[in-house]
Structure formats: structure tokens, C-alpha cells
């Protein structure tokens, strides 16, 4: 507002004092002329101010002179106006001197010079106005004159001057200032309408530095007119317009600090509180003020005023919002306690706890700022702390109380539950309190209660870790022992739940485990209720488990399981204890622990599961044992497993271990080991269902290692053990016997097994096929027929082809042809049997051809030729199969057929027209006979095959009958023990392609005088084993009387260029009466490798 004007009484007093001081001064001057009297002012300031007076006087004097000289000049008016201003300057200087002398007080200043000089100033202005009515400086003169009148208290004259200015220079910038003064004057006189009109002229005008002030004053006019809505607009405009001026055209003035009194922004915002609180809604008030404020102090001042206004009006939301803002932004001080109090009161009355967390944080932050101010005495600090503590605690507790109660049981859908955000706010409030009022911080008498509350809130939120942490904290602070134990128990259960829930960081888990165990340790030192005891113990053990201390966890979990069987914790502990062993890979420990728990007591419900886990562990233990041992250098899985089996004798586990040991030994081709383990299984587990498989596996392994006796014995044991499989097993044994050359023995072994019923089954069919093949090879036709005929009915294909061959030999061609159809119709026949069947077919056709003596009739000749071609093709079909016996026989018989047919054809009394063709054909047949014979011979020289049919061909003559010569082998005399070539047997069993081992084994067996076994062993290497091995094979075959085999071996060796092969072959050929072939041998088989075993 304007400078307070002195009352008239004061003006008279001023005049009196001025006169008095003039007298005193005059007397002093007269009395002390020349002498310097004491001055009331401090020398430096007085000198400065007096210098200003002197300066002003000098300026006045100079200006007067200038005026005198400037008559008629265009700047004369300015000089005159300037003169008036200089008088005013001198008056101001005198005023300042007087002020400096008398200090700031309410008493009127004694400075008579001021009035005199102002009068002079006014006179100068009047003179200027009179002398220069059209000067552009008129407005300045009028304005200055008005200001002088105003400062002299001559308000009527002031008004006259300003009104004249407004009238004569309405657009002059000074007019706005004049109007502003007039408006203020009118306001002071209570003439509100007039004031408003004047001020509105200012605000309506162009931008001016006093426009903001005009708005401000207009706002107050409106306030006094009880027009708050308009007042608010004006206040806002005052702030805005002033800000725009100071940041724009008035920037320089603002920087220089000039016209500071014109900055009404702060005043506007603070003064608008009265109307704002009344007229405007509370919502958004803080933000509105923030937007209008140009700096923080202004904002804070406005908030304070508005906050108080809201308090008076009891507009609680406004109190709340403004108090919040003040606590956030205002500097610390005593007033903040009021704000805290106001906020607390508003929130309580509003029951608004929606942001209670932030509010309590706000209170606590405010306390921290306020309580740490330097210079604050202890009592004041204590009061601050006490008040803030009370407010913060009350809000936190009230907020909790305001929440809907927690459901006692898992909430039914209809039961209202406190929403999580509300609970979180309450938690936040409690956290803020506890983090502020704590040991080492500010004292808080409600700490324990709030800790309890917070535990409850976190529990309701499901935040077990936080609940546990606070419960643990309370347990450390509580004084009452019972409370400590309750808190410790709460901490244990909450931390346990947190650890079970997972999804916490590693640091939180470490904290949870450590705190849980510490709380639990505390509980364990006292008495626990029957419900609590297992829970606490289990929680401890489980915490070790979750930390990965599995061995320690297993110990404590076992203790829990044994101490609390049949409880939820006991069963869980039992399961976890086993799991701990599992995780450590300690299968033995797991199984032992499981068995122990089952024995010492777990709930019946858990027992089956426990037993299953133990059983699985034991089985896995056995498997892992073998696996591990196999990976070690020098490790022997068999021995490991045998040791384990011994430790678990007469148990399913022991049996499993022995079986695994057997498999391990088989993997190593350790035949003695397999036998040993098989004997152990048979001795310790005679009812084992696996024994049959063990024996049969042992038999096959023995056969692979050429342990004939061992294999036969094993097959027999297996057959005794499993009558249902006896046929297949004994058939396998018989096959082995046959391979070893004891065909009669094989036949004798098979015969008792074969019955017509058995023959119909798949196993019986295979056995019967073997029997048939053996019978046809080893026995004369009639004997073979006697053996095989009983199975004629529904004979399987294998038997049919054998019967076909036998019937051919017996001259029963019709039945033979019928039986041999199988060889054509059934694809899945062994190659040898198929060849046999086709051979029988060919023999039937050949026999038919021989019996058919055609007459000279052309038709009969043609038919005879057709028969011939049929027979030729049949033989050729057999030959193409490549079977060494039947193919050679077919070639030989083809040669015979062709020879005989050619001879017969040549003797035909054919019609003349056919004579030549017949003759040609007969010659061709002769050539065909020779070719067939030659081809048969070549089987010997090119493929090293010397089967009986081939040997017949080598004699230069084909087979006279269809029957293939039998080659019974010599009975087995020597019996090499299993130790002969044992290492090589194992090598060969592991790798049948290890021909060196095969050769060594064969040589060892020959040296041990068991050529039968040597023959079996060396046969494995005949294909690809090289000439030396083939030669050895030949030697072993020769020693048992297998001439086909011997010559095959020698022949392959000779084909490979081995000298011994040639020599041995020659010897054998001579022994067989094939001298010509013996002579031919060196020519057919040139030697390239010297040496070799000679037979």
C-alpha cells in the first residue's frame, strides 16, 4: 500500500520543530562561528549525506544559471523541470540526513528544510507549466508536482495535479502511475468505486511497470467490495502481469534492484488467500499456487496464508493439502510443527488414510529437518520429537484401525478384505515411523506396538519375509520374556514361509535363514508348546536344507522325523532328509536313512512311499556302482558288484547286483567271470527268474569263445531250468554239436524233442528244420526217411524240402515234386534248404526225362525236348543260388543230364528234317555237359570249394546219382580245456574280426590236440582272415576228416598265394585220389608267400 501519510497534527508539530531547530541552529551558528561544534551523526555517514546536499545545491545553482542563459531555447522547459527535480533531490537528501540522525522511529522527523525545498520544487514545476504549456515535459512536471504535494500531505493539490495529468496526457506513461496513486488515494478515502474506476484505467492500458500493482490494488478494492471472485482474478493478474513485466521489459530494472516495491507477486498470492479459501474449491489449490509462484519463498508464503485461511474456514481437505505441501517444500522451522499438527488434525477428522504412508514419511522427514537445526535447544528438540512422534504414531495406528478386519479363516468370497494398496500404505506408514523412531535415532514410545502392527499387516499382505524381519526385530527389543518368545516364534514361522515361497534375492535369503536360526535358538532355550516344537525344529532343519548344508540338514531332519512321527512336520522332514541324500548323490546314505526311518518309525501313510524311494535308490546304487567302476582306470565292475552283492546277500538288491555283475563280465567277455557269477546266482538265488537267461547267455558266450563243452553244459542247465524253453535251448545245443562235427550227436539230441505237436510251433519248426538238414546230410536216404516221415503231416517248409530230397533218393518222384513246391513258393527259406528243394525239383525233372523214351514221333520229341529244357533250367536255377554243395551238385548233375541227353538225342531215329537240328543239339548238349563239368571244376580253382560234388567233377566225371556224398567227421578225441587260448578266446568274443587272435586261438587248439574246436574257431576267420588262417583252418579240417573244409581252407590259402596252402592242398587231393587235380594245383595257384603250416 502507499506510504502512510502523516496526520495534520503531526504537520503542525513538524513546523514547530522546524522553527525550533532553526533557532537553535542559528544560535549555535552565531555562538560558535568559526568553531566546529559536535555533530549528532557518525562522521562517515553524515559526510556522505551532506555531500549529497552539497551536490544538489551546486546542481540547483548551475541549473539556475543555465536557465538564465537558456531563454528562448528549446531546452528551457527541461531545465525548469529539472530545477524542480533538483529541489526535490535536495529535499530528499535533507530527509535522509534527518532520518539517519534520528533513526527509525514512530516520531515525526524534524527536517524543516524538506518542506521548504519541496515548496520550491512545486514552484519550479508551476513555473515550467505556466511558461511552457505545450512542452512534452508537462506530464513529468505534473507528475512530479503531484508527488511533491503528496509527500507534503497536500492531497487535494496532489489529486488536482494528477487529475490534470490524466486529463491532459492520458497516454503518457506517467499517467498510469498517477492514476495508480489516485486509485490508492481513493481507496484510502474509502471511495471504492472511484478507486476501481481509476485502477481499471491503468489495467486497461498498455503494458506498464505499475500495471501489476494496479491489479493488486484493484484486487483489494474488490475484496473491500466483497467481490472475492473478481478480486481473485485481479490478484492472479497482478502476479502474472508483474512477472511478465519483470521478465520482459523490466528485466534490467529487476536485475538492478530498481522498483522493488513494484514486485507485488508475493503480496498478491499471499493476500489472495482470504478470497481463495472462500471462493475456490480446495482441489488443485496447491498446484494452482505453485503455477502462479515465481519462486519457492513466494509459494511457501502463499501456502502458509492459505493453509491458515483453510484452517479458519475448517476446510479440512484444503488444510490437508496445503499442510502436506508445506511439509514438503517449506524450510524447517517452528511453523512446521503447526503444519504437522494441522495435517494430523485434518487427516483424523477426514479419516483419510489413503496416503497415510506418504503422510507419515512426510512428518518424519519434517522432524528430521527441524530437529537437526543448529541452535535448537534440547527442550525445543524434545518437544518437536514428542509432537511428531505422537502424530506419526497416531496416524499409523488409526490407519490400521480403519482397515476392515482380517478374516479369521481363509476368506470366503463374500467377506470383504482390505485391498492390498491400503494395506501397503499402512505398512509404509509403520515403516516410516519405525525407521525414524528407533534405537539410535529418535525416541518412540510406540515402537513395540507398531512393530506388532507391522507384522500383522505384512502377514495379511503375504509378505512373510518382511513380517519375519519385523517380528525378529521386536523379539530383540521386547522387554517381556513372553513377548520375546512369541515374537521369536512368529519370526520363525514367517521366515520359514518366506524361504518356502522362494522368489527372494540371495541376500534376503541369507538374512532370513540367519534370523530364523537365531530366533529358533532363542526358542529352543525355553519351553515350547507341543504344537510349536515340531514347527520350530523343522524350520531350523529346513533352513539348513535351503542353504545347501545338506549333511547337516539331513541330520536335523532325521531328528525331526523321529521325534515327531505322524505329524505334518515329521513326514515332511522324512521326505526332505531323503531328498538331501539324493541331492548329494549319496545313494547309500539315502537307502540306509530310508530303511532306518522305516524301522524306527514314520507314519503308516508315508511308509509305502519311503519304501519305494529306498528301493529305487538301491537299484540306482547298483547301476551307478557298475557305471562308476567302468570309468576308472583298472576298475573292475564285476568285483565291485560282487562285493556289493555280498554285502546285500539274500536280498533282491543282492540278486540285482549279481545280475549286473554277470552283465559286466559279459561286456568284458570274461567267461570265467560269467561262470563264477552264474554259479553264485544259482546258489544264492535258485528261484531267480533270470537264471534261464543267465545260462543261455553263458552258453552263447561260451560258444562264441569256442568253449563247446561249457556251452553245451550251460544250454542244458538252462533247459532244465525252463522246460518251456527246453526245445529251443537244446536245439541250439544240437546246432552247436553239429557245427563241431558231431552230427549224429546232434541228431540224437534233437530227436527226443521232436513230436508232431511240437513240430507245428515256431520253435519246433526251427528245430525240425535243423533236424531235417542234419538227417539228410548225415544219414542214408532210408534212414533219413525213417527219421523225417513221422512229421510229414503239416510239415513245415524246412522239413518239406528235406523230405523232397529224400523222396527223390528213394525214387518217389511224385511226392518229391509235391514236397519240393515249397522251395519255389516259400521265399523265407534258408539258402541251403532252398537250394536243396530246387535240387530235388531238378532231379525229379531229370528222372522223368530219363524215363521218357520218345519215339520218333515229332510230338514226343518236342515233348522230350521241353522236358529236357525244364530239367536244364532247374539245375541252372540251383547253380545260380551259389550254395557250395547243392550248386556244385546241380552243375555236376546237369553235366550228367546233358551228356546222357546228348547221347540219347544222337541215337534218335528222327525224321530227316530234324536230323541235322537234332545232331546239332546233341553236340551242343555234349558241349554243355563239358561246360557244366568245367564250371564245377572251376569252383575248386577259383573259389577254393571242394565239396564232394566238386571233387567228383575234378575226377572228370559228373555225379552218377543225385545223392550227395556224406562226409562224417572223426569223433572228437582231444578236449582242450577252457584255459587253452583263454586270452584269445576273450579277444575273439569281443571282436570277431580280430583275425590274429583267431589264428592264435586256432593254433593253440591244434597244439592242444583238439582239431574240432580249432576248426570251429578258425571258421570265424575264413572270410577275410588271410591265407595263413585259411591254411590253419584247412589243417584242422583235415585232421577231423572234413575234406570239404580242408580243401576249402587249403584252397583259399593257395588262392592267397601261400606256399603251404598249395602243398597241403596237393596232399589232400592225392589222398582223395585226385592226382590230376593235385598236379594242376601249382599251376592254378602260383605261390607268392613262402612258408605256412604244413599238414
Amino acid at each position: 500500500m502507499s506510504t502512510p501519510r502523516p496526520p495534520r497534527r503531526a504537520a503542525r508539530a513538524l513546523a514547530c520543530s522546524l522553527s525550533l531547530s532553526c533557532s537553535v541552529a542559528l544560535s549555535l551558528a552565531l555562538s560558535g562561528c568559526g568553531a566546529r561544534g559536535a555533530d549528532a551523526l557518525d562522521p562517515p555517514l553524515a559526510d556522505t549525506l551532506k555531500q549529497r546536499i552539497t551536490k544538489a545545491r551546486n546542481a540547483i545553482e548551475e541549473t539556475r544559471r543555465a536557465i538564465a542563459r537558456a531563454q528562448g531555447t528549446p531546452y528551457l522547459a527541461e531545465l525548469k523541470v529539472r530545477l524542480g527535480e533538483l529541489f526535490s533531490d535536495e529535499a530528499r537528501a535533507h530527509y535522509q540526513v534527518a532520518r539517519a540522525r534520528e533513526g527509525v522511529s514512530d516520531r515525526p522527523l524534524h527536517a524543516p528544510q524538506v518542506k521548504t525545498l519541496k515548496r520550491k520544487s512545486i514552484e519550479a514545476y508551476l513555473l515550467a507549466l505556466r511558461d511552457h504549456p505545450d512542452s512534452p515535459l508537462r506530464a513529468r512536471a505534473l507528475f512530479n508536482m503531484g508527488q511533491e504535494h503528496r509527500e507534503l500531505g497536500e492531497y487535494d493539490e496532489m489529486r488536482a495535479a494528477f487529475e490534470r495529468l490524466a486529463r491532459e496526457a492520458p497516454d503518457d506513461p506517467l499517467t498510469s502511475e498517477a492514476l495508480l496513486v489516485l486509485g490508492g488515494d481513493a481507496f484510502d478515502r474509502g471511495r471504492l468505486e472511484e478507486a476501481a474506476a481509476l485502477l481499471e484505467r491503468v489495467v486497461a492500458g498498455p503494458p506498464h511497470r505499475v500495471k501489476g500493482s494496479a491489479h493488486y490494488k484493484l484486487a483489494w478494492v474488490r475484496v473491500n467490495q466483497d467481490r472475492c471472485d473478481a478480486a481473485l482474478v485481479s490478484f492472479e493478474e497482478a502476479a502474472r502481469v508483474t512477472g511478465a513485466w519483470l521478465e520482459g521489459p523490466g528485466r534490467e530494472d529487476a536485475r538492478a534492484g530498481r522498483y522493488a516495491e513494484l514486485d507485488v507477486r508475493r503480496l498478491a498470492l499471499t493476500d489472495m488467500a482470504f478470497c481463495y479459501g472462500k471462493e475456490r474449491p480446495e482441489e488443485g489449490a496447491v498446484e494452482h499456487l505453485r503455477a502462479l509462484s515465481h519462486d519457492r519463498p513466494t509459494f511457501v508464503a502463499a501456502l502458509e496464508r492459505l493453509s491458515r485461511r483453510y484452517g479458519v474456514l475448517e476446510r479440512l481437505k484444503g488444510v490437508r493439502d496445503t499442510s502436506r505441501a508445506l511439509l514438503d517444500v517449506a524450510p524447517g522451522g517452528d511453523r512446521r510443527l503447526e503444519d504437522a499438527q494441522a495435517l494430523h488434525g485434518a487427516l483424523k477428522q477426514l479419516k483419510d488414510y489413503s496416503a497415510v504412508g506418504a503422510d507419515v514419511e512426510r512428518l518424519c522427514a519434517s522432524l528430521r529437518r527441524a530437529a537437526t537445526r543448529p541452535g535448537l535447544d534440547d527442550a525445543a528438540r524434545a518437544q518437536l520429537v514428542s509432537e511428531h512422534e505422537r502424530y506419526a504414531r497416531d496416524l499409523a495406528v488409526s490407519a490400521l484401525a480403519a482397515l476392515p478386519a482380517a478374516p479369521a479363516a481363509p476368506a470366503a468370497p463374500a467377506a470383504p478384505a482390505a485391498p492390498a494398496p491400503a494395506l501397503l500404505e499402512v505398512a509404509r506408514a509403520h515403516e516410516a515411523y519405525l525407521n525414524t523412531f528407533k534405537p539410535g535415532g529418535f525416541e518412540g514410545e510406540g515402537r513395540l506396538d507398531l512393530l506388532s502392527n507391522l507384522v500383522e499387516v505384512y502377514a495379511r499382505l503375504g509378505m512373510d519375509f518382511e513380517a519375519g524381519r519385523r517380528a525378529f526385530e521386536r523379539s530383540l527389543e521386547a522387554q517381556d520374556a513372553g513377548e520375546r518368545r512369541d515374537d521369536s516364534y512368529e519370526a520363525v514361522t514367517r521366515f520359514q514361509a518366506a524361504l518356502e515361497g522362494g522368489a527372494r534375492g540371495a541376500a534376503d535369503r541369507v538374512v532370513a535363514r540367519a534370523a530364523l536360526r537365531r530366533a529358533a535358538a532363542e526358542l529352543l532355550r525355553g519351553a515350547l508348546s507341543p504344537e510349536q516344537r515340531p514347527r520350530v525344529r523343522f524350520a531350523i532343519a529346513q533352513s539348513l536344507y535351503s542353504e545347501g548344508l545338506l549333511e547337516e540338514a539331513a541330520e536335523l531332519l532325521t531328528a525331526v522325523a523321529l521325534s515327531h512321527p505322524g505329524t505334518e512336520q515329521g513326514d515332511a522332514a522324512a521326505r526332505l532328509a531323503l531328498d538331501a541324500h539324493q541331492q548329494r548323490g549319496d545313494l547309500q546314505g539315502l537307502a540306509a536313512a530310508g530303511e532306518r526311518l522305516a524301522r524306527l518309525g514314520v507314519s503308516e501313510a508315508l511308509r509305502p512311499r519311503l519304501n519305494a524311494v529306498v528301493a529305487a535308490a538301491r537299484q540306482q546304487q547298483v547301476d551307478d556302482l557298475a557305471l562308476e567302476a567302468a570309468g576308472l582306470d583298472g576298475g573292475d565292475p564285476t568285483e565291485e558288484l560282487l562285493g556289493f552283492a555280498q554285502s546285500n546277500a539274500n536280498t533282491p538288491l543282492g540278486e540285482r547286483a549279481l545280475l549286473n555283475a554277470f552283465v559286466a563280465a559279459r561286456g568284458e567277455a570274461d567267461l570265467p567271470g560269467m561262470r563264477r557269477v552264474a554259479d553264485l546266482i544259482a546258489a544264492q538265488y535258485p528261484r531267480s527268474e533270470q537264471l534261464v537267461g543267465v545260462w543261455s547267455s553263458l552258453a552263447r558266450a561260451a560258444a562264441a569263445q569256442v568253449d563247446l563243452d561249457g556251452a553245451l553244459a550251460a544250454f542244458e542247465r538252462a533247459a532244465e531250468r525252463a522246460p518251456a524253453q527246453a526245445l529251443a535251448l537244446r536245439a541250439a545245443a544240437a546246432e552247436l554239436l553239429a557245427k563241431a562235427g558231431d552230427e549224429e550227436g546232434a541228431l540224437s539230441a534233437l530227436r527226443p524233442l521232436l513230436t508232431p505237436e511240437v513240430a507245428g510251433a515256431a520253435e519246433g519248426r526251427a528245430a525240425l528244420g535243423l533236424y531235417a538238414a542234419l538227417a539228410t546230410r548225415a544219414r542214408p536216404a532210408e534212414s533219413a526217411w525213417a527219421d523225417l516221415a513221422p512229421f510229414r503231416e503239416s510239415a513245415p517248409p524246412e522239413l518239406s524240402v528235406a523230405l523232397a530230397y529224400v523222396q527223390v533218393l528213394r525214387g518217389q518222384r511224385d511226392e518229391a515234386e509235391s514236397l519240393a513246391q515249397v522251395a519255389v513258393s516259400v521265399e523265407a527259406l534258408p539258402a541251403e534248404l532252398k537250394a536243396m528243394g530246387l535240387y530235388a525239383f531238378a532231379e525229379v525233372y531229370g528222372a522223368n526225362l530219363r524215363e521218357f523214351k520218345p519215339a520218333s514221333d515229332v510230338d514226343e520229341l518236342a515233348e522230350w525236348v521241353s522236358l529236357l529244357e525244364l530239367a536244364e533250367q532247374s539245375y541252372l536255377k540251383v547253380a545260380r543260388l551259389g550254395d557250395p554243395r547243392w550248386g556244385a551238385a546241380a552243375l555236376s548233375r546237369l553235366a550228367a543230364l546233358s551228356r546222357d541227353a546228348g547221347a540219347l538225342m544222337a541215337s534218335f531215329a528222327a525224321p530227316p528234317a530234324l536230323a541235322a537240328p537234332l545232331k546239332a543239339r546233341a553236340e551242343a548238349l555234349g558241349r554243355q555237359a563239358a561246360q557244366a563239368l568245367k564250371t564245377c571244376e572251376e569252383l575248386a580253382w577259383r573259389r577254393g570249394l571242394f565239396t564232394p560234388p566238386v571233387r567228383e567233377c575234378l575226377k572228370g566225371a559228373p555225379m552218377a546219382s543225385a545223392e550227395l556224398a556224406r562226409e562224417p567227421l572223426a569223433p572228437r578225441a582231444g578236449r582242450a580245456g577252457a584255459e587253452v587260448g583263454a586270452a584269445d578266446r576273450a579277444l575273439v568274443a569281443r571282436n570277431p574280426q580280430d583275425f590274429k587272435a583267431v589264428a592264435r586261438l586256432g593254433a593253440a587248439l591244434l597244439a592242444a590236440n583238439d582239431p574240432h574246436l580249432a576248426r570251429l574257431a578258425l571258421a570265424q576267420g575264413l572270410q577275410g582272415g588271410g591265407p595263413e588262417l585259411a591254411n590253419l583252418y584247412g589243417v584242422s579240417c583235415a585232421r577231423v576228416g572234413d575234406w570239404s573244409g580242408a580243401l576249402e581252407g587249403f584252397g583259399k590259402a593257395a588262392l592267397g598265394g601261400l606256399e603251404a596252402g598249395v602243398v597241403n592242398a596237393q596232399k589232400a587231393l592225392r589222398q582223395l585220389g585226385l592226382s590230376a587235380a593235385a598236379e594242376r594245383a601249382p599251376k592254378e595257384w602260383p605261390v607268392s608267400i613262402q612258408g605256412g603250416e604244413l599238414w
Binding site: A520, L524, R537, I540, A559, Q588, G589, R596, D633
Partner: protein, 193 residues
């Protein structure tokens, strides 16, 4: 001429000296970055080196386990819980555990020696194979085989040790169960043990 022959002999001896000298010396390690070695040789060396590192780690773990077992036994001796007749059973468990850990440590040590022997053998074989150096392999092979045997023997000793631990545990847990309500004494010190 004689001097020339002599100088030739000297030069020949000097050339042969490294070969002769290396036969009885310790095996020099080979670097994985040796450019003279092909990839498969380096892989073999790397595998053997890895085996050694693993064995060293296992020995360190085993020694730590022994120390922990010793600590547990010492703590039990220092503050024995009042378990009455059951206490000796608990002590027996800790003693057997310590014995088992010692056996495991012995096995780990033997395995480490085995890994070292294998690595030396690998170096020697590789050097010989690629004409880098000459070594007598037989002693190295024998040493490796002997170390393997020793390791296997140490391993074989684990099972009876474990069996004794299980036996002791069975006796202890039976005694623990017999404590009945007095088992709280076991729990009192459980966390500090």
C-alpha cells in the same frame, strides 16, 4: 684327418647328448600352444591337465571336509549335550564321520597322484610320438599303473568306512529316539554344533 674325425665325434656326441640326457630326466611339460603339436595331441594333453585340476580341487574339498568334521568333533567334546547314555553314540557318529572324511581325503590324494602320473605319461608319450623328446616310457607307465592301483585301493576303503558311519548312525538314532521328551537337549546345542 685325425683331428677332423675327432671333431666329428665331438659334434656327433653333442648332437646326441640331449637325447641321451633326456631319457632319465623328469618329464618336461608340454604347452597347449606348442605349434609342433597337432590338435588331437593338444586335446589329449588338455584333458589330462583338466583331470589334474579336478583332482586338486577334489583334494581341497576333501581336506575342507576333514577340517569340518574335526571341528564338529571338537565342538561336541567341548560342549557335550546332556544326553546321558546316548552321548557316546553321537560321539561315535562324529568319529566315524571323521574317519570317513579322512578316507575320502586319502582317496582324493591318491587320485591326485594318479592324475599327475597320467599327465606325466601323457607328456612323455606325446613328446615321443612327435619326435620332441625321448623318454623311457616303461617306468612312467608303471608309475601310472601303480598310482591307479593305489587310487583303486583307496576307493575300495571308502565303502567299509561308509558302512561304519551308517552303523553308527543307526545306533545313534535308536538312542535318540529312546530319549523321548529329553531330546530337547540335543536340539539346544544343535545349531552351534
Amino acid at each position: 684327418m685325425v683331428s677332423r674325425a675327432l671333431s666329428l665325434c665331438v659334434r656327433g656326441a653333442l648332437a646326441l647328448a640331449p637325447l641321451l640326457l633326456s631319457c632319465g630326466r623328469p618329464v618336461a611339460p608340454l604347452s597347449l600352444s606348442d605349434p609342433r603339436l597337432p590338435a588331437e595331441a593338444r586335446q589329449g594333453i588338455a584333458d589330462a591337465q583338466d583331470e589334474l585340476v579336478v583332482a586338486e580341487g577334489r583334494l581341497a574339498d576333501a581336506e575342507g571336509a576333514v577340517a569340518r568334521a574335526q571341528g564338529a568333533l571338537a565342538r561336541l567334546a567341548a560342549a557335550p549335550p546332556a544326553l546321558g547314555a546316548a552321548l557316546p553314540k553321537l560321539e561315535a557318529v562324529e568319529q566315524e564321520r571323521l574317519a570317513l572324511r579322512a578316507a575320502e581325503r586319502d582317496y582324493a590324494a591318491a587320485d591326485l597322484r594318479r592324475a599327475r602320473a597320467r599327465l606325466s605319461l601323457m607328456y612323455a608319450q606325446t613328446a615321443l610320438r612327435y619326435d620332441l623328446r625321448v623318454y623311457a616310457l616303461a617306468p612312467l607307465e608303471e608309475a601310472a599303473a601303480a598310482a591307479s592301483r593305489e587310487a583303486l585301493a583307496a576307493r575300495a576303503a571308502l565303502r567299509p568306512a561308509q558302512a561304519r558311519v551308517e552303523e553308527a548312525l543307526s545306533a545313534w538314532w535308536e538312542a535318540y529316539r529312546a530319549l523321548g521328551p529329553e531330546d530337547a537337549r540335543f536340539w539346544e546345542g544343535a545349531l552351534t554344533r
